[in-house]
Amino acid sequence: MYVAVKGGEAAISHAHGLMADERRGDRALPELDVGQIAQQLGHAVDRVMTEGSLYDRELAALAIKQAQGDLVEAVFLLRAYRTTLPRFGASLPIDTAAMAVERRISATYKDLPGGQVLGPTYDYTHRLLDFDLLDSGREVPPPRESDAEQQPMARVADILGQEGLLEPAQQGAPDTPVADVTREPLRHPAGRDARLQALARGDEGFLLALGYSTQRGYGGTHPFAGEIRMGSVTVEMVPEELGFAVEIGEIAVTECDMVNQFGGDAERPPQFTRGYGLSFGRAERKAMAMALVDRALRAQELGEETVFPAQDQEFVLYHADNVEASGFVQHLKLPHYVDFQSELELVRRLRREHAQARTEAGTQQQEAAE
Amino acid sequence: MTSFAQGLAQGAPQPGFGDAVFDSQASFRALLDALARPGEIRAMTLPLTAPAPLSPAATALALTLFDHDTPVWLDAGAVVGEVPGFLAFHCGCPVVDETERAAFALISAPAAMPPLHGFAVGEDRYPETSTTLVIDVQALAGGTPVRLSGPGIADVAVVAPVGLPGAFWEQMRANRGLFPLGVDVVLAAGGQVLGLPRTVRSEV
């Protein structure tokens, strides 16, 4: 016989125990080390840092280990930790023109000062499973050291800007506070600073699909990958008590400048417009998708019709965050007995009324026929 | 850091709450209750000192709610003397000259206070962006009785604060006419507060 029971504390503790056991897996295999994750699952770490809004490879790797590789869960773990940290202030804008470049490509020019630097990439590899990787312990030779000194690499956007071909980057006054969507709720219409921050934190899959939709006619912007560059930049901050900038660290970032369809009107000559993407580490797909969506979201400001999902600020910004989305989708697992019971009561009543109405209609028909 | 430096520049600041976490929690609950139940007098948990001319209750409110995100307007009696240094040190709140920019206003001399409508009354779509006035009065009871009704009041509440300017209740009625816009008021005396949110209807 079935015995109805209540949930409870014991069940929760038991679930935690099962989870820990499953995470460890077969005890005959060595336990995964956080350092291994940080080193060998670097792209996962980059994604978790980007969407978790926290640049810390070790903590991101820990989150990935704890979440058993569930990256959205790892983003959540990192975000929940981030909230508890004090906020000291805002850094100066990073200078990507001064980046120590590891990879730099432009789809708009065959060659340009500093050249095309392919760097580490899966582009042009053949996606064939490499069965050699099944055996651990295989020797990997170190990469060939480049003997050339890095030449200065002007950003493509700046090159285009000199000729006035590309709209200038929007500059806030140096002392204008930068929006922080983690400290103030979004208000619509949101400024570009708030939008870019929300996109940088946004889910890669969601932005990828939205960016893709603009390429398929849902708000097309004729994008060219003006430049993608990846490498490390220094982060500087001006502590109030010092009054001058000090270097506080170095981070790896990927930046994408999309050059999009030109605008112009009676006053302004035709020029290309910008879409911008930036991610931590090597999250290149994310940076590109972000740049497409950023440009699409500028529709209103550029006087374009806004009819497609990628152009709709509220739609994009309210649904891009995977921690919010994951929580709310999964909250459907929580008990809803009470709401469901309310619906049951109504549906049963409606069915009774429906049956009664049919019976009455039948009786009337019968009477009419007689 | 600025606030710390400013505080030090003005000499050793007076101490604030004995326990910042628990005293501000208890004071907040008193305030929440006072605004949720207009007309009922509530005791604040008091700081170790209060900068002249502020009452201990108004000081407790400042320590509980003010920080970098709250522009504060100080009346002529409060803007000189110990108050700005105390607030800079303990709260770090910006002090503003324009009444309509203030999230909070501290009124130490109600007889000379600007009219209520001179403060921020909020925007149609964001009515919460209005000023909360904290007015130090002589006493919260013993004056001319005023009947209050509205949300938070079961039937009618009678209050009788002493020391408000003659036009105050007339202005409160005009403030009620702006609802959902309008300022919210906390009267303070000694260690106690009395809440007058924008929803109260008053009858002298």
């Binding site: 029971v5 409870g8 014991a10 709720p185 208000r187 929580g327 709310f328 929580l334 | 929440l32 924008r198």
Partner: protein, 305 residues
């Protein structure tokens, strides 16, 4: 203040109540404005909590901002203290505040709830904190925040009446059984959170302060004590609450909200009070339902091991 009171209760790794003091101040300021504008949704900078969005982060942030060492906290989900999410949230507060918790509605100073209002009348000394998934009552009719804000600003609630009337045209009834929209203080249309409409009448002129927190949607709102809360209706279709032909199988209550419990796969079912504290009190007073003492329901009245 005694030395004992000065030591921090709760997990020393976190501030009392988990939130930092600046966050508490921000939420506290929001709550005071919420109380001053009954039923209006105040935007707030909701923080990422260690529990998922949609699982009570708004209610948790409200509770964390108001709770003190002298509070007695009760946490319920679906009316019951022992549902897993209620247990999880209660454990969270035990860890970060070490306050006393209780299952007794009458003993609690703070009650955090999901989906129910306790059956027992609440008092002037209590605060009810609701976890709210969708604070915007117009959301299903108008998904845009910017539009909803205008509708509230200009009190143009016709769209909601049309929505409800379409139900009547189709079903003969207003087909909303939970999250049934209310007018607060005859000014703001508000979402009562998804409580069953059975509970709506308890909201009006309630002696306790009602606070609402929506973490993912970043909104706070409040209903002060003794404030009018009216469930929307029409003259020819007055508001009415659910009723059951059955009574609680454990305590025999006929006036409480009932959960249906399936007993077998042949249509066997029974009803029990959703409010577990209310039901236990009645049983302690000697009320007995038809299934009381039956082997099949032993697990509902005893703590699971």
């Amino acid at each position: 203040m005694s030395a004992a009171e000065k030591t921090r209760p709760g997990d020393p790794a976190y501030n009392f109540g988990y939130l930092d003091e600046q966050t508490k101040r921000m939420i506290r300021r929001g709550l005071l404005k919420a109380v001053a504008i009954p039923g209006y949704q105040v935007p707030f900078a909701s923080r990422e909590m260690p529990l998922p969005y949609g699982w009570g982060t708004g209610g948790i942030q409200v509770t964390a901002s108001i709770i003190g060492p002298h509070d007695r906290l009760k946490v319920i989900d679906q009316g019951a203290d022992d549902t897993t999410n209620a247990v999880s949230i209660r454990r969270f507060f035990q860890r970060v505040t070490a306050v006393e918790t209780t299952e007794e509605t009458a003993q609690a100073t703070l009650i955090q709830t999901r989906h129910r209002i306790p059956e027992r009348d609440l008092t002037d000394d209590q605060i009810l904190v609701y976890q709210v998934p969708i604070p915007e009552p117009l959301r299903q009719l108008e998904p845009r925040e910017s539009e909803c804000r205008k509708i509230h600003a200009w009190q143009e609630y016709g769209v909601m009446h049309v929505g409800l009337y379409e139900d009547i045209a189709r079903w003969g009834h207003i087909a909303r059984t939970y999250d049934y929209p209310v007018m607060v203080n005859e000014r703001y249309l508000s979402a009562p959170s998804p409580i069953p409409k059975f509970d709506n009448p308890k909201m009006t002129r309630m002696a306790a302060l009602q606070l609402f927190g929506a973490g993912r949607e970043k909104r706070l709102y409040a209903i002060p004590p003794h404030t009018d809360v009216r469930s929307l209706d029409f003259e020819d279709h007055p508001f009415e609450v659910q009723h059951w032909d059955e009574v609680c199988g454990l305590c025999g209550a006929a006036e409480s909200f009932l959960d249906e419990v399936i007993l077998d796969d042949r249509g066997g079912h029974m009803y029990v009070c959703s409010d577990s504290d209310f039901c236990r009190h009645r049983r302690e007073q000697g009320h007995r339902g038809a299934m009381a003492g039956h082997e099949a329901v032993r697990g509902l009245t005893e703590q699971a091991s």
